[in-house]
């Protein structure tokens, strides 16, 4: 039984949230994990998500939005089914990260934080994703792709477009 009636989340996630708020000395500490989990399930942090999280944590919606807007990994608009995140931080940059990004832009026909018309792909230029050893790297949803070349990127994106890619959540 969820602490919130009419929850917008799946029963599993609602149960997880019920537990999450009990784990911290101060309830609002659960705010960031909740936002992330909610984003994974809903696809983005919608007004409804903000509303329910504020309700669960006894916060004003404004407090939730203040935190939400601070973090670049939380988004308030839907991303594509596959969110392509290309790293251009120093190691990747030295090994051609910007070429990979430009290649993705040209291939998908979209820019930073944009979504393709068929809502299949979205593109983001991100800071270090912790894969410096295998730079340049990119992340599609939660799946990593390393030692990239434009040809490899073509292959990866084609796989995703054809439904063969791993969809790690």
């Amino acid at each position: 039984m969820s602490a919130v009636t009419n929850t917008i989340f799946s029963p599993e996630l609602a149960a997880r949230f019920d537990k999450l708020v009990t784990l911290y000395p101060v309830k609002r500490s659960a705010l960031i994990p909740m936002l992330l989990y909610a984003q994974d399930e809903v696809g983005y942090v919608s007004d409804a998500v903000v509303h329910e999280i504020a309700q669960r944590l006894d916060l004003f919606e404004l407090d939730v939005r203040n935190v939400l807007s601070y973090y670049s990994m939380l988004r308030t608009k839907p991303a594509g089914k596959y969110n392509v995140q290309v790293c251009t931080n120093i190691s990747c940059m030295l090994r051609g990260g910007y070429e990979i990004l430009d290649h993705c832009k040209a291939k998908l026909g979209i820019g930073h934080k944009e979504v393709t018309a068929d809502k299949l792909f979205s593109l983001e230029e991100v800071e270090c994703i912790g894969a410096c050893c295998w730079a340049p790297a990119m992340q599609v949803n939660y799946d990593f792709h390393e030692d990239l070349t434009p040809a490899k990127v073509d292959q990866i994106l084609d796989d995703y477009a054809a439904g063969r890619g791993k969809d790690v959540k």
Partner: protein
């Protein structure tokens, strides 16, 4: 706390341990600049302007977060510090448009001052400035993003000070921005909006021109206005407000209200009404010419002379033909003490009637009776900000007495005060309360009885009867208790509660009321059975001799009885000063068809349209005198604005008396043998302050040369009204508040009418944050704000 010694800029200073360096320096006359620091709010250390060099500390330290310590050696102005501050300002100016020539804050902007001082206006940054359009967040508040320096003052003011939390910071780094609580995606207009109490404190606290008010923005410059400190005309809290006025086509108009100089009882606080609702003076329906009803039944504008002659003649005729009881007088709770006193004196000594009353918003007569024989038991507004424990029974200060609510919140935040709230509704102040007791809808009397020891009353007192005992024990266990009473408590209920408070050793009481001079109107005797100072009509003391031959040795008709008398044709004339009883008490207009009705008001109210003569009156911002707030704090009212054509109620009353062939000097004691001394215009001390005049003023001897000088009546109030004899002239004239109590003479038994079953004539106004009786309807800003929130607001009074 023990004192510590430290050295700042070579000066040996002493301050209590725990004092912040910035405050300690300020007290010693050393100013350290700061944007984010704001006294009374939590520390932010966001702006880095207050950096100072403290010996033995490795880096520059922020003076706003450093408590003074023994032996500390501090430098506040060195080339190193100047350089650091200059760099800080360069960063702050990174996105700042430097549009000072058009900005509201220009001339009183902290950033502008600092930029001048440290010379950082030339920027090294080559990036284009991040411009965003100005946003309208509410009918009162505008936000100009590029001017903002992210000091967080508004965020803290709104959250901590107001307990509203309507402002936050969103995004980060150079794109961080202050955001209101309704995002664009959820706003009906598609733009960001505020959902708040609209107090405007954020605008006040803003060190730059990022937050501006709709009333003032782009209207004028600070140095083009005169600034007059007076008292707000709205609720009974008696906030001091500094009005910015400038010349207009027909007098002086008010363009701004604030209290940035922190000179008054309210420190820097003002609510929406005090800050924005002065625009009623310029309402298009404002009367500026007297109106007299003609033979054809229509009101026609006439000259003052003609109108006053008609009134004087008719009043005299009614008095001489029917006697004093054929006349009635209804006063106001927004006129000054002097006018209220003069009005009742006019009624009793010129009209010869005791039929005098006003719209009572709290039962001050019972309050005075219950306090009989005590002294030092009434609280001042100032006590609400410092009391260790407060019991609030009834009332809703957040909506009806916003300063009281502000003070209580401040008291909890800064002094860890314990607040006990007993109310029939879950009022907002329960959030600060240590204990909240839900009283049953009609249970205040039972609660008062229960607190006083009557356990049998428990059942009817509270929703949760089991919570009562603990509540009473907690309250009685407090060493110093401040008891604030809402105007739901009247008559015997109020008496019981005051007696309970008096039974506690160090308790003080206060009764909250609705309008600026509700208390003063009662103190000054706008009552049918009580003379000024709650002097009973049976023992009129010196009033009987002072008030001359017409003085009525009987009690008069109260407000409702006067209308009954009018209905039965017994009231020949009714004189209504600054009140709207027809709307307030839902009087049938037909009641007054045989009564000669004179109304003094600013507009054609429901009462004024029925009148035979309407006299256009000045409002509280357009006159001088004094007012007494709910708590009994007496303050000076100074004339700020002016409107061609209108006259003060004081002048009108005097002129009517004159038209009735009354000897004006016996009504207003002016010119009593004193000659004017025009001060030191010549000689060695010419041009200096007129010390002789100051001395005369301080000793209540300054010459009153005009019959329209309210201070001539203040002299009489000072001399005759019990409780007001203790007032200090110099305190009053310097704009300070002073506390007066209804009864000061312990040994003098005050019997207020042996009849204990007095009729309950108190009608609380139930104003919200955005209504203010009839007056509020004529304020465009309040109307807009009321419209915005009326769906969610609590129901308001009929008017």
């Amino acid at each position: 706390m023990p004192d510590v010694n430290f050295i700042v800029d070579g000066k040996q200073l002493t301050a209590p341990a725990g004092t912040l360096l910035i405050d300690a320096c300020k007290a010693a006359g050393i100013e350290i600049p700061a944007f984010c620091y704001y006294p009374g709010l939590s520390l932010q250390a966001a702006c880095r302007m207050c950096v100072v060099r403290i010996e033995k500390m490795p880096k520059l330290q922020t003076a706003c977060t450093t408590p003074v310590a023994e032996g500390m050696v501090v430098q506040t102005e060195t080339p190193e510090i100047a350089q650091a501050r200059k760099a800080t300002i360069q960063l702050l100016l990174g996105n700042h448009p430097l549009d000072c020539p058009v900005c509201d804050a220009g001339g009183e902007c902290e950033l502008q001052d600092m930029t001048f001082k440290y010379g950082a206006a030339e920027s090294f940054y080559t990036e284009p400035k991040n411009h965003r359009e100005e946003q309208k967040w509410s009918p009162a508040v505008y936000f100009d993003r590029p001017r903002c320096i992210l000091c967080y003052r508004c965020v803290r003011m709104c959250g901590e000070g107001m307990d509203v939390f309507a402002l936050g910071i969103q995004n980060r780094g150079s794109s961080a921005v202050i955001a209101p609580n309704i995002p664009a995606s959820e706003s009906p207009t598609g733009m960001q909006q505020l959902d708040c109490e609209e107090c405007g404190m954020c605008i006040d606290a803003c060190p730059v021109g990022a937050l501006t008010s709709d009333s003032y923005r782009y209207k004028t410059r600070p140095w083009e206005m005169n600034h007059v400190g007076t008292v707000c005309t709205h609720c009974g809290d008696g906030c001091k407000t500094t009005l910015g006025v400038r010349r207009s086509a027909d007098g002086m108009e008010i363009v701004r209200g604030d209290n940035r100089d922190r000179s008054g009882i309210n420190n820097d606080f003002l609510c929406a009404k005090g800050r924005f609702a002065f625009d009623f003076a310029n309402h298009e329906e404002r009367l500026t010419q007297p109106l007299v009803r003609q033979a054809d039944g229509k009101l026609k504008p006439v000259s003052w002379e003609e109108a006053l002659t008609v009134v004087g003649k008719k009043f005299k005729e009614v008095r001489d033909s029917r006697g004093g009881h054929g006349l009635g007088v209804i006063g106001s709770n927004r006129i000054t003490n002097e006018e209220a006193y003069l009005l009742q004196k006019f009624a009793r000594s010129v009209l010869g009637t005791a039929n005098i009353d006003h719209h009572r918003t709290a039962d001050y007569t019972t309050f005075a009776r219950a306090l009989n024989g005590t002294s030092g038991k009434t609280a001042s507004q100032r006590d609400t900000a410092t009391a260790k424990a407060v019991l609030l029974i009834g009332g809703d200060p957040t909506n009806q007495n916003p300063l009281t609510a502000w003070n209580l919140r401040t008291d909890v935040r800064l002094n860890k005060a314990r607040i006990y709230v007993a109310n029939h509704a879950p009022i907002k102040l329960r959030r600060q309360a240590k204990a909240f007791l839900q009283v049953t809808d009609l249970g205040y009397g039972s609660l008062a009885a229960y607190l006083g020891g009557d356990d049998a009353a428990a059942q009817a007192a509270a929703v949760d009867v089991n919570a009562l005992a603990a509540f009473r024990d907690a309250v009685k266990g407090e060493e110093n208790l401040l008891v604030l009473i809402g105007n739901e408590l009247r008559g015997t209920d109020l008496e019981k509660l005051v007696q309970f408070a008096l039974s506690l050793p160090n308790a003080k009481v206060a009764l909250l009321s609705d309008y600026v001079n509700s208390r003063g109107a009662a103190d000054m005797g706008l009552l049918p059975d009580l003379l000024p100072g709650y002097t009973p009509w049976m023992q009129p003391k010196e009033f009987a001799t002072e008030y001359g031959d017409h003085f009525p040795a009987a009690k008069g008709l109260d407000l409702l009885q006067q209308f009954d008398a009018a209905a039965s044709g017994e009231l020949g004339a009714l004189y209504v000063v600054g009140a709207n009883p027809v709307a307030r008490y839902s009087i049938d207009p037909a009641t007054l068809k045989n009564t000669f009705l004179v109304v003094q008001d600013m507009y054609l109210t429901e009462t004024a349209v029925l009148a035979d003569v309407v006299l256009p009156a000045a409002n509280l911002y357009e006159k001088s005198g004094s007012v007494t707030n709910s708590y009994g704090d007496l303050q000076l009212v100074r004339k700020a604005a002016d409107k061609a054509g209108v006259r003060s109620d004081f002048e009108i009353i005097v002129r009517i008396a004159d038209k009735m062939d009354h000897k004006v000097q016996s009504l207003v004691p002016f010119g009593n043998g004193l000659r004017a001394d025009f001060g030191q215009t010549r000689g060695a001390q010419s041009g200096e302050a007129d010390r002789h005049a100051v001395w005369l003023a301080a000793n209540n001897m300054e010459p009153k040369l005009s019959p329209f000088d309210p201070f001539a009546i203040l002299d009489e109030i000072h001399r005759l009204v019990p409780g007001y004899g203790s007032l200090l002239r110099l305190q009053l004239l310097s704009g300070n508040d002073q506390h007066v109590e209804p009864v000061v003479n312990k040994n003098e038994l005050v019997q207020i009418d042996g009849d204990t079953n007095r009729r309950d004539l108190v009608l609380p106004a139930n104003d919200t944050l955005f209504t203010s009786g009839t007056l509020g309807r004529y304020s465009e800003k309040l109307t807009q704000l009321h419209g915005k929130y009326s769906q969610e607001a609590t129901p308001t009074a009929a008017d």
